[in-house]
Subunit: 199 residues, 2 copies
């Protein structure tokens, strides 16, 4: 387990630093950062965003969980087939999701980070979904909804940043950095979903 | 060919209204719109954005083409393997890309639109890439870069909107609508790339 994690007390199933080696190379990551226009300035802006979001993570999660809970086609992937949502599953993922907000803002995007991106990707697909929390939910989160959720996951973060930062320009810059960081990760997460040779 | 197209004089290879039926249903489109939080208000905001962008489409394309041209791993997909960029390919796609900006802002997202989304998707994959312009470039645009380019395609549009709209709030609202529209399409375009049952 990594030591430089800002806030990762005991989060069940959070295996950052202990994930298998990613099949994606650091050179491919650099290309992908270039495609999404992610620069060192974005990394700095994310660090600042992380400070502003730090005390608000639970409130951000309330918004996102409310959004997912309100849509049957989304909450289905936290439920048993044709069953109700699995409360323990929602709770366990929520803790790791909160840590993901912190990681996205503060971690260096290095080999260890790349390895955990691969693990998060697999946890959305038949390879690892349900395993960490030992539940019997659907086998896969459909890729189209994974990509689409970049929308709400990005736009809903704005008021939380604006509450702590007066300069509209600064908020804007942090929002763009956040969007790029989420897109970068969703692009990485799409790998196990993709046909051979097309990723 | 459709008649209600705002500006589609003779654009070679632009087959809007004549594309094959999409395998995606309108019900699935509605779900996807919900996942990305796309509402009627966004459709209205896009219409307004379309008016502001109308005379600036060529300048927007200059920025995007400059971005792609500057990155070897991107421009490769407009080139012969290990060869230089194919000028006629870049030009032909550019005209359709300009029309796509207009379509994204003004078209109703109906069956005809869905059908052409499917065609655009296929044109990025081995199924139809290179066919329309009869060129010998790479067989596929890698999905990860398709997703990643949502970043530049979104963030670079802001100054063009801001130049024609004083209210920062309005610009912001149009930017969010644009982001959702691009994500919605990239989510649709990911379908032919995806393993069976995981899209
Ligand atoms: C941009 C979009 C998304 C982001 C940023 C995101 C983020 C995350 C994160 C950080 C985790 C926990 C990873 C860990 O175990 O450390 C996770 C798990 C999960 N997410 Fe997503 N997610 C997205 C889209 C979706 C969508 C659309 C669904 C569908 C409802 C979904 C359902 C799940 C489920 C069911 C898990 C638990 C997987 C498991 O069994 O381990 N996610 N997600
Ligand atoms: C959000 C990202 C992207 C958007 C919105 C986009 C949009 C478009 C549009 C509108 C077209 C023309 C469709 C038509 O024929 O009517 C097109 C074609 C094309 N795009 Fe993309 N694109 C994206 C990402 C990429 C990337 C990353 C590449 C890699 C360089 C790329 C390479 C191409 C190529 C080579 C064609 C021509 C395909 C053919 O042979 O017909 N695109 N794109």
């Amino acid at each position: 387990m990594s030591v430089q994690s800002p806030k990762s007390p005991e989060i069940p199933g959070y295996t950052y630093g202990a994930a298998s080696h990613s099949p994606v190379s650091l050179a491919e990551l650099e290309e992908l950062k270039a495609s999404v226009m992610f620069t060192n300035r974005d990394a700095e802006l994310l660090r600042r965003a992380g400070q502003l979001l730090d005390g608000q993570v639970e409130k951000v999660l309330d918004v996102w969980y409310g959004f997912v809970a309100g849509q049957p086609h989304l909450v289905a992937h936290f439920s048993r087939p044709d069953g109700p949502p699995i409360a323990e599953y929602l709770e366990a993922v929520r803790a790791r999701f909160g840590q993901w907000i912190r990681d996205t803002c503060t971690r260096p995007y290095d080999q260890e980070w790349l390895d955990y991106q691969n693990e998060i990707a697999l946890r959305h697909t038949p390879e690892h979904k349900n395993e960490t929390d030992q539940v019997g939910s659907t086998p896969v989160v459909p890729l189209r909804h994974l990509i689409a959720l970049t929308g709400p996951i990005t736009t809903t973060i704005r008021p939380f940043l604006a509450k702590r930062e007066e300069s509209a320009e600064q908020v804007e810059a942090m929002m763009e950095a956040w969007l790029k960081a989420v897109l970068l990760q969703v692009a990485l997460w799409s790998r196990p979903y993709t046909r051979d040779g097309q990723w």
